[in-house]
Symmetry: C2
Subunit: 250 residues, 2 copies
DNA sequence: AAATTAATACTTGTATACAACTACTAATTT
DNA sequence: AAATTAGTAGTTGTATACAAGTATTAATTT
């Protein structure tokens, strides 16, 4: 499995025509590369190299790395480097618990009213999903797109921010579920059925049902992760590998 | 009411002996000044002036302002300036609702085990509270100290971060409750009874009860805020002043 | 006199030289 | 040979000159 591109240039080729991205765009781009494991945990992110790759100086890069550090995706050490964070199993579990719990909060407090554009977006998204051949990479990105869309259905900006931050810290483990071609197909199937339900909820204008569905699929994913962990490393939480990287190696 | 010191130098006098603060310390110091209304909403924060005041260059100041912007306390506009954010009444209400809801999450998911140092801290804090004469300023800071202590009783760093961020965005309105000497006394009384209950919970090792108490006092504060608003500007949420600044002016 | 425009002072954003720190390597000492 | 030390390359942190943008003021035009 190719986790780490030797140079980020390749990943940037599509945007070379318009060299200078905004800081926010650089942030989103880098975040995606981390969340899709193109930049694996423990990868060293050199400010100078990133600056070269994105055609900017170190200053905007440092702004981006600061944001990523606050989000918990990057860890910077003076004189040493900036490193993509790793997550241990215990942490991951507690983040999942928090995410699941936070969905109840969203269901209780959210007052967003769905409009036609929302339905149109999800319809178009569904069409893309059912008519495409997916790789792990592209399916991962699609699922992130769906998450980001779902975030726009939350009216409270704080809730949106919290939910997003937690998502970014768990989504990398999604990859663990899809090492085989079989699992990938299952995942695509699962996404399609979820989408059908989500669209139904959206067309009824029921955001609470929408997020209840999202919650149930999140819980299912969590169950899958737990089963995967226990199948490979048993019930004892202390003996198994603690980090994502170790799990991928074994 | 003196909301805005002409120059921050005065507020810094106590730390002039050791001029160079760490970035984190500068962040905390500036955050306190914003949360205690020493720096009122809409105050312009000049990077150059702040750099002079804290004996550093603009670079560390920009790091701090970035953090404060992510926390929602500061708003930076290119070419114009950095401004302390204001909060409107609707926003404030939804933040309170979220904070109240988040306490339930803390009660459900928290697994922190209380130790002797925790009890000792709260005991010492109680002694300070009952034996001191409080100004609005010092009482405000004491309540922030209590919040920060309570945060250390949460084991999940994400929950801690979220709760803190929400707190920082509501605590400035605490001031609205204490324009009169009477209200200040009431508040001190309230703090003392809360502390007695919190200590009892802590000594039993019951963090869930501890946070249930915290929650009930938060709800009480929210009720007070609502009553104050309605008493001054009626039930219609749209006619009253939308911003904190306007409310203080009237 | 009013409206428009140009000029100016001031602000944040960017690039970059240098300082502080880390980690690895090779030379030196024991 | 092993341990220690000094050196060196490479990293992030800081200070600062300059670029880009804003907002006020003064000059110009109508």
């Amino acid at each position: 499995m190719m986790l780490n591109t030797p140079s980020p240039i390749a990943a940037l080729s599509s945007i070379e025509a318009n060299p200078r991205l905004s800081n926010e765009q650089i942030l989103q781009h880098l975040r995606r590369r981390i969340c899709t494991l193109q930049l694996a945990p423990s990868t060293k992110l050199s400010e100078v190299k990133l600056a070269r790759d994105y055609y900017v100086s170190r200053t905007p890069i440092r702004w981006v790395l600061n944001r990523l550090e606050m989000e918990g995706l990057v860890n910077t050490r003076h004189g040493s480097g900036s490193y993509v964070t790793d997550v241990n199993w215990q942490e991951l579990r507690s983040i999942y618990h928090l995410r699941i719990d936070l969905y109840d909060t969203v269901i209780r407090l959210n007052h967003y009213t769905i409009n036609d554009k929302d339905v149109a977006w999800l319809d178009a998204f569904q069409n893309t999903v059912v008519s495409s051949q997916w790789s792990s990479q592209s399916l991962s990105e699609a699922i992130m797109d769906l998450f980001e869309f779902s975030s726009t259905l939350i009216d409270d900006p704080y809730l949106t921010q919290f939910a997003s931050q937690l998502y970014f810290n768990t989504t990398r483990f999604w990859w663990l579920l899809h090492s085989s071609k079989d699992a990938l197909d299952t995942e695509q199937q699962s996404l399609e059925t979820e989408l059908a339900q989500l669209i139904a909820a959206l067309k009824l204008g029921q955001t609470d049902i929408y997020f209840a569905i999202r919650k149930s699929y999140l819980m299912a994913n969590y169950q899958k992760l737990q089963q995967l962990y226990q199948a490979n490393w048993g019930l004892d939480k202390t003996t198994g590998p603690t980090n994502l990287m170790k799990m991928l190696d074994e």
